[in-house]
Amino acid sequence: MNTPEGRPGDGPTPLRAHDLTMAHDQHVVGEHLDLEIPAGRFTVVLGPNACGKSTLLRSLSRLHEPRAGTVYLDGRDIHRMRAKDVATRLGVLPQSAVAPAGISVFDLVRRGRYPHQSFLSRWGPEDERSVRRALERTGMAELADRPVDALSGGQRQRAWVAMALAQESPILLLDEPTTFLDVAHQISLLELLSELNRTGGRTVVAVLHDINHAAQYADHLVMMSGGRIVAEGSPAEVLTSELLAAVFDIDATIIEDPVNGGPHVITRHRAPAPVPTTPTKKVMP
């Protein structure tokens, strides 16, 4: 694991999965998974479709109850904690978040304060500050009064991130946050997450599809395939042609990224393995 020193938020692993077995009804999607999310880092989970990465993220965020094994949040079994306590420690942006028709950005973001509110105290000064801060950090302050359904895809995703930020949780989990965004909005969202991680000391975990985005933004990369974690570490350690061939069935060349010096993956569809040809001997009469 790469550990550049002096980062805020370094500390004991806040989120850990132990011997996790996950299943949807009868279909087991992952068995005996062990995973530690490094504190204060940007962790990216990669893997082909249906490899169990979304279910893993949902298990880590208490949305999916695993068949066996335990997820520990700050050393406590997450499924035995009160939902509101989990929510103050861990914010989630699920894959298919749809805002109700007509709701304004501000109204959406302020709902993120729910875990901090109580029966009597429903809108304190702290709530107001957090919402304002979340709107500013995501660049949504100016659009706060707009209806969410009138925003562009990228702005809408930022509004949802703002809602999760208003939760003021030290851990943020995002399931494919860049899907459905154009490339400019993908980059701008990843920059935002990276900045939240670097300057806010937040532990960020995101499931992504784009290998090079993962290479560029992740401190820690988790590669999944067929319900197992097949590799873990820094992008440079994990992203090898052998592993990419095994996991994604692609031919990949890894070069050095000329901008940041990290790995950059050039992919090609895997050519079918050549049929071994045996030299035919001409039988001379």
Binding site: R58, S61, R62, L63, R82, A83, K84, D85, V86, A87, T88, L90, G91, V92, P94, S96, A97, V98, A99, P100, A101, G102, I103, F106, D107, L108, R111, G112, Y114, P115, Q117, F119, L120, S121, R122, W123, G124, P125, D127, E128, A144, D145, M163, Q167
Partner: protein, 355 residues
């Protein structure tokens, strides 16, 4: 204890800096709209106290309410008209909230208890009790509640595959409603003639026979259920509108919220139905109208309650006095108007492609 009120984004923020911090945020337009609706409801109620076979002056009515009017005036105003007028207000509010609850959890503007069969269930339960058992409020209420819960269970079970939301729930509900209506007819036909008549009258949905003795418990139970619902479910339903995952990740259990909302909705409907028979349309339309008036989004329980109160109070006033000499059961009036509303709603939803 000092208080602080600040205006912000069309909302008022209230804060007290006492030992226990109390704070809240109120949408100004919603508050104003609710106040206006309540004022209008009060006016309609007052009119209901004035009008009748004997028309009284406002001064007489005020004196009767204050308790120093001649016994004849008091008999008309306090004994006869007041229970009915108040029942219309309270029951209207209960139906409005029940509709808002179901529309919120089904995420469907058609998902109101009178469309998805819960009202028909309560009604069938009530009619069965009236025809075969007896006519005390508690018995009828028990029948209505059982009927409502049984139908709720069946509807939720049958529409499970399609999720609680959406088309399937509405279709299953409409089918069940039709079956229950024919069941009700059969019950009335087989019952003893006198009881059948009572049951049939009740089945039309009427506030005619209302007295404090009969509806008093209904109003008290209903108001308590209403307040508990508003306090406990309002914010949770608001979160549930963001989807199950988001709601759960913010610390509110979506399954529990939905179950509590269904139970609360069935109780509210059953309380009204047991006292007055099935009254349709109010639960369907009050939430839509209230939300639109308040210019708000989402579940909006308070505007739904205020709109429902005004609707049923007005409908009952109209049913009594619109055609001189003929007093209709209020259920007949709401069905007539509600049918038109339902048709326009279906056309609009169909255009949006929501169906």
């Amino acid at each position: 204890m000092t208080g602080l009120i600040t205006p912000e984004r069309g909302s008022l923020v209230l804060r007290s800096s006492g030992r226990v911090p109390v704070s809240g945020r109120f949408h100004v337009r919603t508050v104003l709209v609710c106040a206006a609706l309540l004022l209008a409801t009060a006016a309609v109620t007052f009119a209901a106290l004035l009008l009748g076979a004997v028309v009284h002056t406002p001064a007489e009515v005020v004196r009767a309410l204050a308790g120093d009017a001649p016994p004849s005036v008091e008999l008309f105003v306090v004994q006869w008209r007041l229970p009915r007028a108040l029942a219309a207000v309270v029951f209207g509010a209960l139906l409005g909230v029940a509709g808002a609850l179901f529309q919120s959890i089904t995420r469907n503007p058609l998902g109101s208890p009178d469309i998805i069969g819960f009202t028909a269930g309560s009604s069938a339960g009530g009619v069965a009790v009236l025809a075969f058992v007896g006519s005390s409020y508690l018995l009828v209420a028990a029948g209505a509640l059982t009927g409502g819960l049984v139908v709720a269970a069946i509807v939720l079970l049958l529409s499970r595959g399609g999720g609680v939301a959406g088309f399937r729930l509405v279709i299953v509900g409409i089918g069940l409603s039709a079956m229950l209506t024919s069941l009700e007819t059969w019950v009335v036909l087989t019952a003893d003639i006198e009881q059948a008549q009572i049951a049939a009258l009740w089945g039309a949905g009427s506030l005619n026979a209302v007295s404090f003795g009969y509806t008093g418990p209904a109003m008290v139970i209903g108001l308590v259920a209403l307040i508990v619902t508003g306090v406990l479910l309002d914010r949770r339903l608001t979160l549930l509108e963001l989807g199950e995952d988001v709601s759960a990740s913010l610390g509110s259990d979506p399954g529990r919220t939905r179950l509590a909302a269904v139970l609360a909705g069935v109780v509210l409907v059953a309380v009204v139905t047991a006292a007055a028979g099935p009254i349709s349309f109010v639960a369907l339309a009050a939430p839509h109208v209230g939300r639109r008036l308040a210019g708000a989004t989402g579940v909006c329980l308070a505007p739904a309650a205020c709109t429902g109160a005004l609707m049923l109070a007005s409908a009952d006033l109209a049913a009594q006095h619109a055609i001189p000499g003929h007093s209709f059961p209020v259920g007949v009036a709401t069905v007539a108007v509600g049918g038109l509303y339902l048709v326009t709603l279906l056309i609009r939803e169909n255009r949006k492609g929501a169906l």
